[in-house]
């Protein structure tokens, strides 16, 4: 997973105990659209660096380029870090490497399913890592009854990152976190 690698790399390079604590606090901020998962579980928190007394820089990456929740995430992270005593919080948006649904943690996937959102399937990205998505053959389980008999209603749903499906077994419609 891209995310943890970035953070772990920093940790190996000497993430201070303060940075570790701030990373934990920022990572625990709930996603504004899907509050059952945290930013850390979603894999959008890319790194944190204390640059001076009371000064901290945070790197966030959007799930989808136009994700309107990104501004709220930045505001929420800023508020949490200010509460933790940091006076100057700067949030940078990073696009590269591009976020992928593979960055969502196992725990995050479990929580999404519990909240009625079918989690994304693992990506099988080709050599480039930039090839398109849409391997629609793998079964998607209905988050309500667990059936694999589900069908796509629309590739686009209530937010940019989800598609709309319905279950043939229990008849319920549900959102699916679509793979990127």
């Amino acid at each position: 997973m891209v995310i943890t690698r970035t953070v772990e790399a920093r940790a190996a390079g000497g993430l201070s105990s303060l940075e570790q604590e701030l990373l934990r606090l920022a990572g625990a901020v709930p996603d504004p659209e899907l509050p059952v998962v945290s930013l850390a579980e979603l894999g959008v928190l890319r790194g944190i660096r204390v640059t001076g007394p009371g000064q901290v820089q945070v790197e966030l990456t959007p799930t989808w380029t136009a994700c309107p929740a990104l501004e709220t995430m930045a505001a929420d992270v800023t508020a949490v870090l200010k509460d933790a005593g940091m006076s100057e919080v700067t949030v940078h948006t990073v696009l590269s490497p591009a976020w992928t649904t593979d960055a969502i943690s196992e725990e995050g996937r479990r929580k999404l399913a519990e909240a009625g959102v079918a989690p994304p399937r693992p990506q099988t990205l080709g050599g480039t890592g930039i090839s398109g998505p849409v391997a629609l053959d793998l079964a998607i389980h209905c988050p309500h009854c667990g059936s694999t008999e589900t069908r796509l209603l629309s590739r686009f749903s209530s937010t940019a990152c989800k598609s709309l499906r319905s279950c043939k077994s229990c008849g319920e419609p549900f959102d699916h976190f679509k793979e990127v």
Binding site: T65, A66, H92, T128, I130, P133, R155, S157
Partner: protein
């Protein structure tokens, strides 16, 4: 934007042609700036056109789909335009001739088939272009590598509808063919060389034609045989020359910001 890019942005001198150099110093300059802005204009203008379907699409799912695609494009536009100056000034305060989007994206929505034909032509193009940009590296690569994954969904959407309309009823077949024919003349411009982009656009046309042809023929339709540009339109959008309806699009998009400068929610 990475920290490195930010410091570069801060250090970059304002380009003489930049519309909003005082507010946000552009990261890019010269031909690279112009190329990024042209692609940003493509995304912005198509987002605005697709947004016109909000509340008007044939079914609710399409209302949601077309506006989601519009939102993706708006995100791309914001990133691209921000590399070239202040995004709001660029979107809301430029005149018609200062926009360098291709004429294809400004074409009116027409009936649903026209919108789908425009989506098919443009999303196949954008997927090829972003893939090439991501491989090329450079300043646009981070956005391109990210956006290409979104564009794959746009292309899929356009393909599914082309198949459904083309291979549907007699009427939907007729309209889809009519739409493909009507917009064909705007497709040549997409492959005009764009200085500063670092991608050989003319070289992408062959693969574009292959991919579009495959979808069109599978949909029992025919690839238009006429010229892919008109004598007066070749490359015109990229040079700031636009078709009649573009002014009205801008008027709607820019009205609020110009009437109430600095207004916010």
């Amino acid at each position: 934007m990475t920290a490195t890019e930010q410091s570069r942005a801060a250090a970059a001198p304002a380009s003489p042609g930049a519309a909003a150099a005082e507010k946000a110093a552009p990261t890019l300059e010269g031909p690279a700036l112009a190329a990024a802005r042209a692609l940003g204009d493509d995304a912005l203008v198509l987002a605005q056109r697709l947004g016109e379907w909000a509340g008007n699409a044939p079914v609710l799912e399409e209302d949601v789909a077309l506006t989601n695609i519009a939102l993706d494009l708006l995100g791309q536009a914001r990133t691209l335009l921000s590399l070239t100056g202040d995004e709001d000034d660029l979107a809301f305060l430029r005149e018609e001739h200062e926009f360098h989007n291709a004429q294809l994206v400004e074409q009116p929505n027409g009936d649903f088939a026209v919108t789908i034909a425009r989506q098919l032509y443009f999303s196949v193009y954008q997927e090829l272009l972003y893939t090439a940009l991501a491989e090329h590296g450079g300043d646009l690569a981070p956005l391109a590598a990210k956006a290409v994954k979104e564009v794959a969904y746009h292309r899929d959407h356009a393909e599914q509808w082309t198949l459904r309309l083309g291979d549907g009823t007699e009427e939907s077949h007729r309209r889809m063919q009519q739409a493909l024919d009507a917009l064909w003349r705007y497709t040549g411009e997409l492959f005009q060389p764009l200085e500063g982009l670092g991608v050989d656009l003319p070289a992408l046309r062959e693969r574009w034609l292959e991919q579009v042809t495959a979808v069109v023929e599978k949909a029992t339709l025919a690839i238009p045989q006429g010229a892919d540009h008109t004598p007066w339109a070749a490359g015109a959008g990229r040079q700031g020359v636009h078709t009649e309806s573009f002014g009205r699009l801008l008027a709607e998009m820019q009205y609020l910001h110009r009437a109430h400068p600095g207004a916010s929610w």
